[in-house]
Symmetry: D3
Subunit: 247 residues, 6 copies
Amino acid sequence: MSQTDVPRIDGRTPDQLRPVSFERGWSKHAEGSVLVSFGDTKVFCTASFTEGVPRWRKGSGQGWVTAEYSMLPRSTNTRGDREAVRGRIGGRTHEISRLIGRSLRAVVDLKALGENTIVLDCDVLQADGGTRTAAVTGAYTALADAVAWAQERKLIKGRTQPLTGGVSAVSVGIIDGVPMLDLCYEEDVRAETDMNVVCTDDGRFVEVQGTAEGVPFTRAELDGLLDLAVKGCAQLDGAQRLALAGE
Amino acid sequence: MSQTDVPRIDGRTPDQLRPVSFERGWSKHAEGSVLVSFGDTKVFCTASFTEGVPRWRKGSGQGWVTAEYSMLPRSTNTRGDREAVRGRIGGRTHEISRLIGRSLRAVVDLKALGENTIVLDCDVLQADGGTRTAAVTGAYTALADAVAWAQERKLIKGRTQPLTGGVSAVSVGIIDGVPMLDLCYEEDVRAETDMNVVCTDDGRFVEVQGTAEGVPFTRAELDGLLDLAVKGCAQLDGAQRLALAGE
Amino acid sequence: MSQTDVPRIDGRTPDQLRPVSFERGWSKHAEGSVLVSFGDTKVFCTASFTEGVPRWRKGSGQGWVTAEYSMLPRSTNTRGDREAVRGRIGGRTHEISRLIGRSLRAVVDLKALGENTIVLDCDVLQADGGTRTAAVTGAYTALADAVAWAQERKLIKGRTQPLTGGVSAVSVGIIDGVPMLDLCYEEDVRAETDMNVVCTDDGRFVEVQGTAEGVPFTRAELDGLLDLAVKGCAQLDGAQRLALAGE
Amino acid sequence: MSQTDVPRIDGRTPDQLRPVSFERGWSKHAEGSVLVSFGDTKVFCTASFTEGVPRWRKGSGQGWVTAEYSMLPRSTNTRGDREAVRGRIGGRTHEISRLIGRSLRAVVDLKALGENTIVLDCDVLQADGGTRTAAVTGAYTALADAVAWAQERKLIKGRTQPLTGGVSAVSVGIIDGVPMLDLCYEEDVRAETDMNVVCTDDGRFVEVQGTAEGVPFTRAELDGLLDLAVKGCAQLDGAQRLALAGE
Amino acid sequence: MSQTDVPRIDGRTPDQLRPVSFERGWSKHAEGSVLVSFGDTKVFCTASFTEGVPRWRKGSGQGWVTAEYSMLPRSTNTRGDREAVRGRIGGRTHEISRLIGRSLRAVVDLKALGENTIVLDCDVLQADGGTRTAAVTGAYTALADAVAWAQERKLIKGRTQPLTGGVSAVSVGIIDGVPMLDLCYEEDVRAETDMNVVCTDDGRFVEVQGTAEGVPFTRAELDGLLDLAVKGCAQLDGAQRLALAGE
Amino acid sequence: MSQTDVPRIDGRTPDQLRPVSFERGWSKHAEGSVLVSFGDTKVFCTASFTEGVPRWRKGSGQGWVTAEYSMLPRSTNTRGDREAVRGRIGGRTHEISRLIGRSLRAVVDLKALGENTIVLDCDVLQADGGTRTAAVTGAYTALADAVAWAQERKLIKGRTQPLTGGVSAVSVGIIDGVPMLDLCYEEDVRAETDMNVVCTDDGRFVEVQGTAEGVPFTRAELDGLLDLAVKGCAQLDGAQRLALAGE
């Protein structure tokens, strides 16, 4: 069976993204905010700008960008316990929060940001696969808005642009032997290999996280997935640009 | 100065609600869901229906309805810490979660519900005063949808309607000596007395929680606030009915 | 059946308080202390005075008054787990601690208190209904002693009296359709509506918290309960005065 | 200077206990209860009897006795944080709870107790040194009352007496080179060596815990302290018997 | 400068592993154990075999393999706080524990394991870069020993070999533009890109986790790193085989 | 049967220690470190020296020495849960950490140490009884090395030697009526009385902790145990000296 014949659950071709949208300015309080959708996955991202940095960074002349990811209890098909109620944050949540933070810092010149802090909150309102990649992609948009907000108010003082580029992320996976782009939940569950890739807008890699869910994958399969991911990120990057140009 | 001359921050008369809206079906996963807005206050309410009840209630023949309230970190003007990150739920969160649960149980016939559980999650996406009253009002709508969903699927078996009536809630307060309905955040901060009232759709009371923020209040002031609240709840009840009839 | 015929479990008339007592000076360490009894409900209240205020209040010229409520594990009929052992404070405990703190602050001029802190600890040694109202009423007595202690030592410097009035609290409820004052545990369990009212010594309200346990209550019922509560608080206020004059 | 000339802060001779009292029946709920005083140290001890044992002990035919110790925040001269508020139990609290439990189990025939559980709660209402020894001594009294209570109700079925003897505890220490009995707080702070000794009523040892606070102690000093402790426990044992015979 | 001229801190060539050793049987209690060293990085790995599986897996006919990673507080150059003392496990610890568990499960036939559980504990005694890759590599050795132990005792009953292959892991990174294998701590700090790769003994991938620490990396760089990692894992696989054959 | 005829599980005479060894310098990072073995009990002790003291001690001119004890999950025969995973430190761990800290401080002149802090981490790699006594004994060795390290670097400035003597610890217990030295796990389980004794190198006591596991013990038994412990500590002290002289 040729690759393009594989019937995806929602009719997409293997190399097709789900419909992507960015609703900017979703919060009246946050300095930057967006409701990002990758198909039915919806993540609400806010960027909170504050002057000053955490204690351990004071006097360094550098800013700080960090992120927190969370899922609403009923963002999933079956209700999950709140981490606040359990009294501890789970490993998966920690892992994704750290991934988002690292991904954004890869395109931030922390010196140019000055001693300011931007916290990205990525709360999953509805989950259908790819929440972490939607979160990275949306968080960048909110971050860009917050940086622009701070520049307008001269809170970021230097002339150097703090954002050195754009960043976006997408999941890829192998299902029944076929590499596919931007997996929805049902595909994600069935995937033999699952990879999340974060790329800059010039096609370089910030993060590559591939995991064999069942059988280990070969170098050739890895290469196929990377090709697909780079293509997907380029499209997401275009959508981000359009969204950011929109207002 | 007569009461109607008081200039409210947003041009409302003292006895006027903010624009109220209910967007039902906001979640594809939850058995009932609504995005409720009281002005700029937006609360996302989901109702999760599951068969069975908590261990302590097994074999009682009765169901259970409970609620959890939470604010997204940047739902407010200044970012707050996540309770999951702090590792404990604050007193205010607990208090409001319990209030919502009690308010809903006041209009649920738990016997008619059968041994089923409905959990209401009320997550504040944007806060501008009155988040708990919006949460109660929205949660009822989501609850009604979840009950209907379960009845259609014969998961609730009895013939008795589990919902014995509607319930809604509104805040009232005294500002510069004038009782006002449905306070926004700025009014809430300035109010000498702050009261949250939960009413059934036949005008009776489920909860009355009045607090003197500064000076204690008189019986006459209390009576004035209650009059206003009853009026406000009646209007909210109408809006709820419209929304529930809408689909 | 007329209201006065209702046989209360302990022979009281519906509008009668349980025997109330205040044993002041129960702690040799605390600046103010009292063992307050409302019938078999016994709450040990200490007021701890310290110079200085929490960090967030420094330099404001204002003091701070706060409270913590707790029940000993075997204060109740069946032993409950210690919250310290469970590692988290329950919602009810939080709620009552906050209520006590707010109630006391309503009669404290924080400016006149100066940058000093008073912490009220209310530990329930034996519970038989009305622990929160006994706690508010006892805590005020301990607070008054601590304020006097600090004034004697010139730790409170201003001439303005920091206490602007007295405060006391009582529970009321409707049982078999009859409004009753100061419910003991057995009555509390049976009450259709349960209300806690905190009043100042001039008969104004600081807190009104009414909850329909089963059926919602009407405005007329609410009015009846408020009448009863005001009467009860006036009597408690008298008992407090006597106790405070006692030494 | 001869030993008897040492002026103790409260006029006692080195080998003299503080006034000891046991107020039994201090709780209307608990199966056994006592307010024990060693001078100004007051500990409220309750014994909670429940049928059944923890899961890990089911089917063993043996009962379980355990204890929890806690200090009220203002039982001390300076207010301490509540452990429930800090969210964790401190090492000292754990240590003392375990000591009390072990001390009591040393005189309980768990087989004769049958599959029943007795939990001792020892809450320090006022601390002036020796809270753990007062707690052990009071807890035994409460335990004896709870056992008698259960025997009357035939909840303990066997003919063997579950209590194999009495147990009491006292602190001893060396101050300015002189061994002293039952240290009050001020003495405890000054002691070079501090020892807590738990004895059965036939003069054998259950626990011996000696700690050099400053300089290590010699075998001769250790012997002197043990002599004193044995004498003190014998007196406490007498007081316990009197108290238990009292009703 | 050609790649082989780069002076590595410890004199290695870019594609050279540090000295690797496996000391099996380091614990007298554990069913499998090894002290693995990658240069100065030392990780103590134990495999604990127990019959039965966690509740959520009962009746599935399948076993379970999981891992916990931790660093001793002074395994690093500067002492870190214990996670048990802080009361919560950090994100990095969670992340690595999950990585180890997934890596091992990739080579375990859980059906063949039967309803048995193997827990791998990987405690870092001394850290010098690459602790997670040493942990994966050592944990596999301990796992293999525990499986053999259980097979000898007929605790694993099936005829199918539960281990479908070997697994090992290595870090690679780009320093001053040169891809290097098995980074020590000082190199890790300086690396522009850091990648951890987990391979099976037939050269396929289980995990690929690449992170741009500073500048994003190109596809060519990624390819170079993967080449190096595959080579390193093949060598580690050889060392493992030797160690496992050793007894 | 005479005392020397008692067959000990491992062939020792009642007053014989297990083979003791100290491997110093086991960590390349810590200022002092030792792997101490008492038979099969192996504890890894590191001493971390840092300039400065905790906030509550600043400006006192005195240093601080503290200890943390922990068991690896599979140091025991059956795997135990990690305390970091459970989110709280158990009572036993707390108790032993405090014991080690007190024992070491008994031989440290904190003034001579200056405002410096030494933290001892004692992690049990393999447990076979006596982990706390091995930990005290090993920790002293690591402490001595850390003090020497700091003196060489002039980080401890005074001329007074901060260590006023050596300290070691051993367990003793009564088994089948015979007092025995340095119990291994199997003996520990069978012991009627269990005592841990910490002595200085001049034969004085720092800690004496005796517990009747089953029947209470007499004064004569206590005396016998103390004799044995003093003898054991003297031997341990000799072994420590040899080890410390070794390099």
